[in-house]
Subunit: 493 residues, 2 copies
């Protein structure tokens, strides 16, 4: 989330708490120890007085969406694995609960305390940075801001392989713990593709510092345990160091928007795009007409397509040769028009037009907030059902909701449909949940594509799961024997 | 390994046992039960008499390289998860050790019994096949041969995202368990990028069938445990079903070979290739002059570069537009020549020339076998040290070895250097080990890049590892409580 987006957001939401999927209360506070003065003195000695904060904790207790608020009395700012180890040893022995926090830009309440867990802020954990431009391998502390990493890699001709709205303030360690997807997954692959190794401190008796994976692109000498931390929401250990392989920075970007009459047309265009744009296809985003109407009414943003099509596709390519990329894109667009799949289309002529197209897409998570209250979603669905759920919800909420708008990373099957209303309504909530979650799981989808489980989706985390949920608990217990890390979230006892 | 390669290999190695890294004896046979007639009767009832084999077991007891030979008395051919579950329940209760076996094409003795473990062959486990061409997601049984999957996907415009020499006989489940890298990793990413979900049967009291991950490209609702099975060598559970996202099939392939004077020149060319060939770069293979000499002397294969350069680079691109790809490749080649980095270069003019260039590279694992005995390696090294080890070994073995030749997936840091001699010599072995392994680990590399640990590298599997090895043991114990799966290999108690 960059600064300007944050401001817009705060402007709208001041003082207001929103909850999306679950207005279900959290589990009762578990039997963790209360913080004593002697604990604070201990922390003072480990990280220094200036890195122990005990007042003005609202920004650390409240999540980005202002949907969840904890009551932590203490935020610590470690800057080395040794400090983290000493803190966790202490918390283990005292049975004090801890929640790690990176940029605090998550959308499911995973990075804030539920009760009075102490907050381990990773914002000052950003000293080490090493980049090998020959191997294209970056090894750095977990507290680096994603954008800073972009800036440092750029002069070397490289970039980070993932990108997301919060890149101006999210931290790389939080990216891993959240298991971010974002808008470049299509081009560069998942986080699992890029993560080579992790330095992690465990909340065990010794505060063990463990190196999972390695700095090599290939290493088959142990179980690949670092992958457990992707989307692990800080429940297994504290990520202190991250090794990733980064990608050559593309020198050419092309963006187009296509208007399409039917969802099945969008699906055919997706398939054609893989065929014609294969190696350079970097984004394939769907926005329906209700989404565009919302942008117009709430944000005064006009669609670039004048035909008001039922479906709008934003298609981006990134490559190393502008002439080639443009030729491919133009050919692809003409094929979609010739085949009658697209009824309308615009290829951005310059950086300004590209930025405007992306502005439409990037404003969508914020636009419905003007309506009053928003029920947000981040659901993976099989291609056949990608839009069916939106249609069903529109039907179910006729006369109740202000609007049901759909946008998302269609190529990843990731549907961010939003339901807006004047205010929170238990009636709408009861029409939405558990229906949305159950329908999604029944149809082979996932109730959390990329945002995680956190507090928001915890009540539904076990839906459709069998013994694999029990195994997650078993693994959690091996890594975090007293279960003091990020309690009451994805894995709950 | 395709049929012809296999024949060549068998022709050379008839009756001969080779061992590479470790001539260290295996751990003692653990206290597993001996097989009784009543066990065989039970298996007969579960999979049918025709799927219980008790004679002519040599092909199942002996590994592909004929380096390891077990003494199993029984091979089972299950074809459903229910059958596997019943078998594992029985083996759990009777404490019978089991080794899963796929194509048996592995190179470290991971897929054959060490003692009398029963063999669970997955060759007949290949009924289910489902492909969604819109999502590009394949869900199939684990016993499909990789090449068959290529053949089935091709008419849909897709292909598997990895490729390796044994594609004609290796199985997809074995690919996952081995954590294969292969020659397309550079273009399409690692197995971790493609694997979405697994159906696994555990060797626990219930023979639990567990679904890890999902069929979605994005799913953040649980720990991503399916990644533990990549390179897990069958030590955690039996993989029955695999879900992977596949890739659009490239329509254009270009291959070139470059002659380079110095290793640092190769490194610079690698960096330039990322810049100029970014999204289409699909292979960057290094072969040194000794490798080329070996091809000439042992296989009568001439280098396509006439200048006899110290280093030969095979560079391949794969894309969706031949004209564009050719233009990029030609420009890149001219840059390397203009900068004086390459002293020689050939761009393949047609499929035949491309095939010949690849023949040079693909024959290299076999060529030194004519010398008599070969010590093979598969080591990851940081770019700075990629060739240093080869030079050191050449120096150490002067007067002892017939030759020290180097080839490998340079862009992945994966060095397959081979040492050949007239016969096995303890003197050469003692000069090689533990030196090679210790030097590699000291310099931040991995002693197994893509082949795995198996029996061969077990003695060195813990090198440089701390608590992360203990954690692997803990996880193993949770998944396989009696430790009956693939004993005496990567994770050893």
């Amino acid at each position: 989330m960059n600064a300007s987006m944050r401001n817009v957001f705060r402007g709208i939401r001041t003082g207001q708490l929103i909850r999306s999927i679950a207005s279900v209360s959290a589990p009762q506070r578990a039997n963790y120890a209360l913080l004593h003065d002697s604990d604070l003195s201990f922390f003072d000695r480990i990280v220094g007085k200036e890195n122990v904060r005990t007042d003005d904790l609202d920004p650390y207790n409240t999540d980005f969406l202002k949907a969840y608020k904890g009551t932590s009395k203490c935020v610590l700012f470690p800057s080395s694995a040794d400090q983290v180890s000493a803190i966790l040893r202490h918390c283990y022995s005292r049975n004090i609960a801890v929640v790690p926090q990176s940029g605090n830009t998550g959308l499911v309440g995973a990075s804030v305390p539920v009760y009075d867990e102490i907050v381990l802020s990773m914002k000052k954990f950003n000293k080490n940075f090493h980049f090998d431009p020959n191997a294209g391998v970056l090894k750095c502390d977990s507290g680096w801001i994603l954008e800073e990493l972009y800036n440092r890699l750029s002069p070397e001709g490289y970039q980070m392989p993932w990108d997301l709205g919060s890149r101006g303030s999210c931290l790389i360690g939080g990216n891993v713990s959240t298991g971010v997807g974002g808008v470049r997954r299509l081009r560069f692959g998942s986080l699992h593709n890029h993560l080579l190794g992790l330095q992690v401190v465990l909340a065990d008796e010794r505060g063990s510092t463990v190196n999972f994976g390695s700095d090599m692109r290939k290493d088959n000498t142990n179980l690949h345990m670092h992958h457990l931390f992707i989307g692990g929401e800080g429940q297994l250990g504290i990520i202190c160091g991250v090794t990733v392989c980064v990608v050559p920075k593309p020198t050419s970007v092309q963006v187009a928007m296509l208007g399409v009459k039917t969802y099945s047309g969008c699906r055919e265009i997706l398939r054609l795009s893989k065929q014609h744009l294969g190696e350079i296809l970097s984004a394939f985003e769907l926005m329906d007409s209700e989404a565009m109407r919302c942008l117009k009414e709430n944000e005064k943003l006009d669609n670039v397509l004048t035909s008001d099509p039922p479906f709008n596709l934003l298609i981006e390519v990134m490559g190393s040769n502008e002439e080639h990329d443009k030729a491919k894109m133009e050919h692809f667009l003409s094929v979609t028009l010739e085949k009658g799949l697209a009824i309308d289309g615009v290829l951005a002529a310059n950086a300004q037009e590209r930025a405007y197209m992306w502005k439409l897409r990037k404003t969508l998570p914020l636009a419905p907030l003007h309506d009053g209250y928003v029920y947000k979603h981040d659901i993976s669905l099989p291609m056949d059902h990608f839009y069916t759920l939106s249609e069903l919800i529109r039907e179910r909420l006729k006369g109740f909701a202000t609007r049901v708008l759909t946008f998302g990373h269609m190529a990843d099957g990731d549907n961010h449909f939003n339901v807006s209303a004047k205010q929170y309504s238990p009636e709408i909530a009861s029409k939405l949940y558990p229906f949305v979650c159950e329908w999604t799981v029944e149809h082979g989808g996932s109730i959390s594509a990329e945002h995680g489980v956190g507090q928001e989706r915890r009540p539904y985390a076990r839906l459709g799961k069998g013994y694999e949920y029990e195994l997650a608990k078993v693994i959690k217990k091996q890594f975090d024997p007293h279960c003091i890390l990020s309690p009451y979230k994805m894995i709950t006892y």
